[in-house]
Chain length 291, copies 2
């Protein structure tokens, strides 16, 4: 059994990016610049944005944070995005989700300049990804692909079960893994809240990618011997043994399931750290296109 | 066992469209106008385009055919498309595929005005479809959805196997059927040329949608009792009993498989006739948006 070390791989990627930034600087090229838009004062959103900004510093990117009050109007936010779209120094930017209910998320994402859409959520980039055309691939599925590639796990012909059909993880990874590309070519099944007899599907799968955020629901009796497990869930559960009073767990009962697997990602330290690394890589790609 | 009558349903849709065109005319609204671009002298392409033009006449649409020689340059074709993009009278248009090898198909489809892209192949429309946002859905998968709806076949929770991952049929129908929408919500598996043990998958499926164009490969022993079969394949096979010397068959051995099914589409007369009907409906939608 191999534990897939997302922390290590993400550090490798950040180092690769750092090196390229240094080389770019030496050659007189532009420093990559990522901007983040944060609306309101949602705690986890602030934490995520801060991690992204800190990662930018780590690799030598410029970063900007645009913070707006919870009561900003959609019209005003669209105007602000318009300015960022037209700011030649900013190579890529993200709109941290969720947005307040008063703002239509679709309208906002549709107005992001597709060339700066490093989250890959604009329909044109999402469409290109689905069509197999080079584009900004959303960070989490991109991170999963990268782990698979760096561990040289060939999914060709394997039965792969994706659990969860979210637009940021389940849907895109189900599409990507079934494409005719290196390490992919899997036979993918997409399961979701309406799926019946999930146990039958998990037991039959060579590969399970779980992205539903239900703490440790995937148990030992649900997986077959030798399977490959990618755990995208991140949940906080009560833990009296921890100083914080809680611990972070994934969708998978890691302790017991891992014994049956050939490869498995831990939580934390699996898919999670890859997300920011892939966001920065998309930003570097966006910057290169402006050279 | 119910044979799904695509011919009848497509005629119903054409009648509905005719009626709306008549009502529009009476109210002084614009007549819908579909244009088709045909490059070269590929026989089947000419036949398809002619059928589309004839269907336009049948429902009272205006139609235009733009024919170009096989040796037209990509640059010139892009210019011609630019003119059609800007022609206010044309509500929607299609570029008949395949294009000559000298022309990059991706470049051409990307330059179609997304508001006139009634084939739904522009990345922005393909992305919207994948994201579940209202858009022009490609005609063949749209036709399959329409058959399912009109026969009130609820796929909620059903195991659905899509065979073939083409961008015009397999990929989009696999996405659409797994979305959280009425009649959909299926647990979808997408099989393709690299899939192993296809028989196991077909035997386990409640619904099979086959779109690979291999004549009558799906046989009685491969499907379970009571299954629902949608056959998208269209192949010509030698037939000495026919005056033409050939007959048209689907991916399914209809005669023997149909006995085991609850619903099945025949070939011809199943999915085929739906394609043009849905193309015209997209054109009507495009026209309405210009009202």
């Amino acid at each position: 059994m191999t534990i897939i070390d997302g922390k290590k791989i993400s550090e490798d990627i950040l180092n690769e990016i750092s090196l390229e930034v240094e080389q770019r600087t030496n050659k007189g090229y532009k420093t990559p610049h990522l901007a983040a838009i944060l609306v309101g004062d949602d705690g986890p959103s602030q934490t995520y944005v801060n991690s992204k900004i800190n990662a930018c510093k780590e690799v030598g990117f410029k970063s900007s944070l645009f913070k707006y009050d919870n009561n900003i109007t959609e019209k005003k936010l669209l105007e602000e995005i318009g300015k960022i779209n037209n700011d030649d120094d900013i190579d890529g930017f993200i709109v941290q989700l969720p947005l307040p209910n008063s703002i239509n998320q679709e309208n906002i994402l549709n107005c992001v300049n597709p060339n700066k859409d490093v989250d890959g959520f604009h329909p044109i980039n999402y469409g290109k990804m689905t069509l197999g055309i080079d584009s900004f691939v959303p960070a989490t599925p991109h991170g999963i692909l990268e782990l698979i590639k760096r561990y040289k796990i060939d999914l060709n012909g394997k039965k792969c079960l994706v659990i969860g059909r979210s637009q940021i993880v389940g849907r895109p990874i189900s599409i990507l893994l079934s494409q005719s590309k290196e390490f992919c070519n899997a036979t993918v099944t997409l399961a979701h809240s309406r799926t019946l007899n999930l146990n039958e599907l998990t037991l039959d799968a060579d590969v399970i990618i779980s992205a539903i955020g239900r703490p440790e629901f995937l148990t030992e009796n649900m997986v077959k011997e030798g399977s490959i497990i990618i755990d995208v869930g991140i949940s906080r559960v009560k833990d009296d043994n921890s100083n914080k009073g809680y611990k972070i767990v994934g969708d998978v009962d890691f302790k017991n399931v891992s014994k049956k697997t050939s490869f498995i990602t831990p939580v934390p330290g699996g898919v999670g750290p890859m997300t920011i690394a892939m966001l920065l890589r998309n930003t570097l790609l966006a910057c290169r296109k402006n050279d």
